[in-house]
Every structure is written in C-alpha cells, then in structure tokens.
C-alpha cells in the first residue's frame, strides 16, 4: 500500500510558458509544475503526480494525509519487527 502525500508550495516562478513551484513533501523540496492548479499559490497544499500538481487540497486534508502516512510507517515497522521474530525469518538469517 502506498500513501500519496500532498506537498506545500513554498515559492512559485514563471519559467518559459509554465508556472513552477518549489513544493515541500515532509522535508524534501522539489520543483513541480503548477499549470493544472491555477488557483494554488504559495502556502497552499497540492497533490502531485509525475512532477505535476494535479489537485489543490485543504490544509486539514493535507495534515490528515501526513497523519495517515505516519501511522502507515509505524504499522509497516511493527510488521517488519513481527516478521523478523518468526522462525522463518530466523532461518533466513542463518549463515549458509
């Protein structure tokens, strides 16, 4: 399962015939095309696909997505720890 996390627009620029924004996703910042979200500006949250912002989302929705991602990561870590403690995992760890 993958969780799609919205990003926050920090800066925006007109480049060639496009509008691009510096968008932050949990600490990572990437240039993203904003041509499909004409109403999104600095401070707004957007959903992104292959380098293009496709949809503007509310701050509440963005924060909920961050929360879900944190829970998902926690669950994945617990699942990994549980798997590591199974006899199968112990066998896999044995040197050949």
């Amino acid at each position: 399962m993958s969780v799609e996390v919205p990003g926050k627009i920090l800066e925006e620029y007109a480049v060639r015939r496009n509008r691009l924004g510096l968008v932050e996703f949990g600490g990572t910042r990437r240039p993203i095309f904003l041509d499909l979200v004409p109403d999104a500006h600095v401070g707004d949250y957007v959903r992104v696909h292959v380098g293009f912002a496709t949809e503007r989302v509310s701050e509440a929705e963005a924060l909920r997505a961050y929360q879900e991602l944190a829970e998902h990561e926690e669950t994945a870590e617990l699942a990994l720890q549980a798997d590591e403690s199974t006899p199968d995992a112990a066998r896999r760890r044995k040197p050949r």
């Binding site: 620029y13 480049v15 060639r16 095309f33 004409p38 696909h49």
Partner: protein
Amino acid sequence: MIPQEFERVARAYRLLGDLEPKHLRKLVPLAEDRQFRPGEIIFKERDRSSFLYLIVSGEVALEMRAGGAMIGLQKLQAGDAMGWSALTEDGETHFQARALTPVSTVAFPSQGIREACEGDPEMGYALMKRLLELVTERLDAARMQIVRVRHDAEVAQQA
C-alpha cells in the same frame, strides 16, 4: 531571479510543458515514474515498445546491432523522448536503449497513450507536433554526428 534548477526542470519536461493544460489533464494521469540503474536495458531492438519515455534526468545510449556488434548511435539526455514506436501500429522498437547513469523518466503506457490520442485528436495532434520537433532535433544531431565522423576519418586519412 529564477533558480537554475527550475530552468533545468522546465527544459527536461518540455514535451509536456508546451502542451495546453486541457491536454495535460488527460495525459498526466496516464504517466508513471520509471527509474533505471546504470547499465540497465530500457528496451531492446526489435522489441514491442511498451512505453513512450520522457527523460527527466540522466543519460541514455541508443544503440543498434550491426555486423554482430552493438554500435552506439546517440546519447540522449533530459528533455529527450524515446520509445516513440509505442505510438505506431506495430510498436516495434528500432534501437536498443541502455541507461548510462541513473535515469529518471516519465513513462506513458503505449495502449493508454494511443487510446488517449485517438479519443482526443486535438490533443493527439498537439502531442505529435511536439514529438515531431524532438524527432527532428534528434535527426539533426545524428546528421551532425555523421558529418563529424566523416570529417575525423578524412583528417586521419590525410595525416
């Protein structure tokens, strides 16, 4: 002042960046992020082309078999498209594409992009026009390469 990174990204995405938003809205949802490791074969010669790729970063060697050996034809980089056979009826690739560095692409599945172009001929025409410009640039680069190789051979012969 526009940061250099933004200029680089705008250039890398120029195939899509030049399209109207109403056309982008149909194309962007079809696209996938696809990454390749150095040395990885992206597609083989005479394969079925499954994707039309837009190179976002990295370098790719286009190669073909000649006399039992693979020869390098051209080096592609950010902003170049490859695998346009994905848009043709038979979909057969004419070259092999091999990643020279870590390569990041935006890839359009062949069936999805063909259906989208047929379903919206105006968008299809706009995309084809942009692709044709890239293909023309590619042909010009190939011609220049032939001229350089011939020139080098002539200089070597005279020496």
